[in-house]
Structure formats: C-alpha cells, structure tokens
Symmetry: C2
Subunit: 390 residues, 2 copies
C-alpha cells in the first residue's frame, strides 16, 4: 500500500501522541482512575449558558438557516469589534476568517503561506500537532528550543534557525505546555530580528500567533499579541478553550490590520478559496449565529487559578521543579529523576495520569492538565507526594 508521503510523514509526526493515547489507560479499570490529568478535555458538565445559546440557535428562523455558511457577516463583525477592544488594533470584519476552531485557523494560515519544502519554526517544547499539520501540507517543521529554565522566547535561537525557506514562526502565547505569556519587550526584540531577517531573505517572515488560551490568564497578568508589534502577524483563536467544549468547532484566523492595504487584500481574497479548498473549513451554522453570546461566556478562570495554586504549591513544597503558569490549562515541570516515562508509570500505579514530556519532545518533563476537577486534583496529591523522590 502506497500512501502519500505527506500522509506517512503526518502519521510519523504524531505517532508518539497516538501511542500514548491508545495505551495510557489500557488495563486500568475506570474505578481505579483517581485523576486523569492528561488531555485538556472537560471533566465537568458543559456550561448551561453554552447549551442554551446553541440550542436556541438550532431553532431555524429562515429557510437558509442551515444553508452553506462561510465567514458570516455578523460573527465577523462581533469578533472584529471584540478584538479591536481587546488588542487595541483596528480590526474590520473583512480581517476575520471564521474557521473550524483553531485547528482550522492554523491549517488555513499554513495553506496561505507555505508551499512544499518550506519551513515553519515551532517551539520546543510545544503543542504536539504543529508538526503533523505542517507535514499534511508537505511543509517542514523546524523545532527551536525555548530559553532553558524560563521557557521564554530565545530570539537568538530563532534567528539561527532561519533560512531562505523560512515562511512562518509560530508563537504560542499563552504557551502550551508551560503556561508562559511572552512579555512585550521580548516580542519587540523578536519583531526587530524578524524585520531584519525578512529584508535579508527578501520576503516577509510571518508570525502565526497561536492564541487559543489568550483569555485564560491568571493574576490579572497583561497580554500582548505579537500582532501589536509586528505587522506580518496572523492570529488564530478558538472558542474551544474558554468554553471547554472542543467538540464544538469554532474559531477564527485574524489578519493583522497593521499590514499594508495590498497585503490585507491579498490575504482576505485568498482566505475563502483556501478554506473551501481545504475542505469547507467554516464553523457550522448554529455556532456562527451564537458568536455574540459565545464572546460573553467563560469557564471559571478563578477556579482554574486556584487549582493551579493548589497543585503548584503542593508540588513545589515537595521538591518538584515546576514552571508557574501565567495562563492556559496546564502545569509543566521536571519529572523527579528526569525520566518522565518512568515517572508517569509510577503515578499511573496510583491511578493518576499525566502526560510525559516525550509528547513534547522533552522527555525530562511532564504536563498536568488543570481541567480535572478540584476533587480529582485533591485525590491526586498523595500520588504526586509519593513520586516526588524520583
């Protein structure tokens, strides 16, 4: 059987995740699971307000209620206004492409900018699907480590990885898995370097600012989008995180209003054809109708923060070396003993499940999802305590 090279490369790029997912609870009875803190999936019932707004939008009000939908005018207007207020940049509805979640928006950005063999810089550690999404487009992921210790952007390391084939640098902020939010000064340093390198290679290097966790921040910390400091930036966003409902696919790709008019027109004109060509990459009709409401809904961020505090406090006290996240669903740290596979196996024996750093190409580290309930997190503590000695 000859699959395409792209399909084989895609499977290889995500093989570690599939291997983990298919096996991590094999042989474990559900009753023996104290806490599954692996994926950023919901462990509590969905927001009632989410359910009621979508149900209301399932009730047809016109013959074209479930007709083909692309980037509908109303959600694009709502989002442009909200983004303008949130990021301080003058977005217009034409800058917004409605997509099947952030996955759809990232895929759209890759398709708009990358041809086969071209390169996209992604962070290490980083989200475990960038590589597969690039390989599906016959493009080349180039992993660049974040700064050791802080997981801040390492601008010199990014610069060193740039070649004439580099088209995109993915900046994921707040960052999965570390929870780091990049500060404005560092982003300005990045922007200056990219401006210089773009001139050098003779075409603009884009930033894809992957911001699905943008509104999931702790301690009132500020947020700067790379779009504010670097015109050649596209932003992807998903409602799947803030609503903790990733099985309802809605998000968007936003074109930076700071781009030149000609560049904005080119990107706007190409978006819809590429979304159709990709596979009708637009959200379902009822979700698009609900955007005005979705913009007002959120899981309880204060509760998420208190789960972060509880776990981060306990683990740090027991000697774990943890990164204190400023946002996202996750808590990231070094596995005691430095072998995350061995460490997660010990936790597993206690009915506690976390993600080994192997899924992020950092086998020394591990990730905890804070989307588990407060009860699960309490129930997990003794296992973390017992495993603290490595």
């Amino acid at each position: 059987m000859e699959l395409s090279e792209r399909a084989t490369a895609t499977s290889n790029a995500i093989a570690t995740v599939f291997e983990f997912f298919s096996g991590y609870r094999t042989g474990v009875e559900d009753r023996d699971v104290r806490a599954d803190l692996t994926f950023g999936n919901p462990h509590e019932m969905p927001l009632p307000s989410l359910v009621s707004t979508i149900k209301a939008r399932m009730e047809p009000r016109a013959t074209n209620w479930f007709a083909y939908k692309t980037s509908e005018e109303e959600p694009c207007t709502v989002i442009a206004d909200a983004l303008t207020a949130e990021l301080g940049l003058p977005f217009t509805p034409a800058d917004i492409a409605m997509t099947q979640g952030a996955f759809g928006a990232i895929g759209l950005a890759f398709s708009l900018l990358l041809d086969p063999g071209e390169e996209c810089i992604i962070p290490l550690p980083g989200w475990f699907c960038y590589g597969a999404m690039l390989r599906t487009r016959n493009a080349v992921p180039v992993q660049v480590p974040l700064a050791e210790g802080t997981f801040d952007l390492d601008v010199a390391a990014i610069e060193a990885a740039i070649t004439p084939r580099t088209r995109i640098v993915v900046i994921n902020t707040p960052h999965n898995p570390t929870g780091v939010i990049y500060g404005r000064a560092r982003l300005e340093e990045l922007a200056a370097m990219l401006t210089r390198k773009s001139a050098e290679i003779g075409r603009p290097i884009f930033i894809l600012s992957d911001e699905p966790y943008r509104r999931i921040r702790f301690d009132g910390i500020a947020f700067t989008s790379p779009a504010a400091v670097y015109p050649h930036t596209l932003i992807d966003y998903s409602y799947g995180k803030i609503l903790l409902a990733p099985g309802l696919r809605i998000g968007y790709l936003a074109i930076n209003p700071l781009l030149s008019e000609a560049e904005k027109v080119a990107l706007r004109s190409a978006a819809q054809p590429s979304q159709i060509g990709g596979g009708w990459n637009f959200p379902d009709a009822p979700l698009q109708y609900a955007v005005r409401d979705l913009e007002t809904l959120s899981i309880d961020i204060a509760e998420l923060q208190s789960k972060r505090d509880r776990l981060h406090g306990a683990l740090t006290q027991w000697g774990y070396d943890m990164t204190r996240p400023d946002g996202t669903f996750y808590l990231w740290g070094r596995a005691p003993g430095g072998d995350s596979v061995n460490f997660t196996r010990r936790l597993r024996e206690q009915g506690v499940f976390v993600m080994p750093g192997t899924l992020f190409d950092r086998p020394t580290d591990f990730r905890i999802s804070l989307t588990g309930t407060a009860e699960m997190i309490e129930a997990s503590l003794s296992a973390f305590h017992a495993a603290a000695d490595g």
Copy 2:
C-alpha cells in the same frame, strides 16, 4: 505580498465560481427575484425532525459531551451497518472515517493518496470545487470529458489521460451537474481498464467515488457504487444533501472492505492522523450523536422528482436540449443559442437565476437547481419559455 503558490492556484481554480457568486444578483432587488435556482441550497424551512434530533443531542448527558471527538464508535457502527445493507459490501466500523461533510472526506482522500505534482482525473463537466481542493494540496487536476451527448463515463478518454503520476480517478455518481448515474457494465469496464493501467504504472490507481447524492435518485433506479467492482475505491458521502442542510457539516470517507487487509490497515491507521493534520476534520459532537437518526431522515424525494418532471417536461417541449437526471438536485442542458452567459443574462432580466456552464468549464450549457420550491419553479417557467429561442 507573496501568498503560497498553492493558495494562488486554489484561488485561480475557483475564480469563476467566486466571480459568479459575488455578482449574479448585484443590482437586483430581492422583490424582483422570481426564482433563484443557482446553488443547491435550501429554499424551504429545515426538516422539523432534523431540528428536533440535533436539539436533543445538544443536551449534555455526560461531562465529556463536548470533549474532542474523532470518528466516534457509535456513528461508525451505524454507518458501517447501513452501508453494508445498501451497497452489499461487508463494511466494519473501522472502515469509516467521520468527516466534516463530503468536503472533509474528499480532502482526506486527497491527502492520503496525493503528493505535490501528482495527478487526479476529474470529470468535465464536473463539480466546481475538485480543482481548488487539489490545488490546496499542490496536486494537479486533470479534466477528462464525459461522453458527448450522454455524459456517461468515457473509459477510453480516462485511459488516455492516465500517466505514471495518476493516483486517483474521481467518479461522481449520481453526477453533478448532469444527474447521470453510471451503470454497472460501464463501471466494470472502467475497473478492468484501471486494473490494467495500475499494473502498467506499477502502483494502484484509486477511484474516489464521490457519492453525496447516492440516496437522491428518481424512478427507483438502481445504484452501483464503483466500490462494488473495484477494490481500490474510497467512498465519500455527506448528509448535507439528503437533509438539505449543508451548514451542518457531517459526512464520512469509507474504505472499501474489498481491499486487502494490509491496505485497509494502512488506510485506517493513516486516516485519523491526516484528519488531525488537516485541521481536526471530524464532525461536531452533537452531529455525531445524531447519526442513527440522520440515517432515517430525508427531504421529500418524490417532490424533487416531480419538480424535475415539471421543468424537464416544459423545457423539452419548448425545444431545450436537456439531460433527464436520474438523481441529484440538478437539471442540466444546453443553453439555447449555445452561449450560457448570454442565456443566463436573459433569464436574469426576468428575475430567474440559473448557473452558466462556465462554472463547469462547459460554456455552452447551464444548470438549474431543483432545490427551489415548486412555486419558484412555476414562476420561472415563462422566463424559460421566453428565452427558448436563443
């Protein structure tokens, strides 16, 4: 602004459609529209049974109700059973990949099999998105005309178009825009040729059987899927046609159970990574829960058939050269005078809108969508009568 070559080629491939869509009703007041018979969109309220089943599935019954969904076990089982009964082939749930409608399934098939520069044969006339979907993947569409007059498959013409780079032949049955359903004998002839050519070029040429209109057939006519006569066949399907609700994205790609076990395993294993890599190409959670119900629902096919009969009868009587469709939403024929742009302009002046054949690379012909209401169709008749003289 340097977009990717793929994005530019995608825009070019679909430019005629965009140009038509953005302008065809410009300057026309809604009250002056007698009948918009262009796109296969709904013109009546959605099926109440569709609304009630999806609304019921919006009510969460578990904490993971809106968690990430891939190809869920229940819908895959329902579909495998239904397909087994319908096509007489022994599908198993593992053969089914749940996708974002037929667009998602076609995109998945292309990604699984095609690398950049490889070729896919598509019918002329044919659905106007294949080219864009191929270009988004840097693959090459090769248009092969259907048999003149009958629009049956022209096996010799397909054979003549095959090169060592040919990986897929798209067979769309029932066929958009002509409504032709290919008979078993012709499909067997195609299968024999493809078997021979596959041996010649040293790797299997696949059929992608694009069957979203499979259940929209008239006069009780039989249906043979290419999968029944040619093992190297993938089937794509969408619920968007039979439910006339394309704004709710759900469909599937089915792997032919007649393939060897090794080939099935390879395709099954690669499907999910490629769906993730493509952009989380799975239907939203509530739609997946509803598949058992969706399988039982349908628009009124008898009514569609009577609209076909009414229009086909009237136009033929007035001297139009029309193809009598055996299925689909469409009626296809030759524009009086042989210039579809001029013809559609004349209809437009009467408030009647149809698609010029330019969108299908057959400028002499035109397409009518039968999804307009019976009232619209009655209201359109005088305009068709007046335009009959070319």
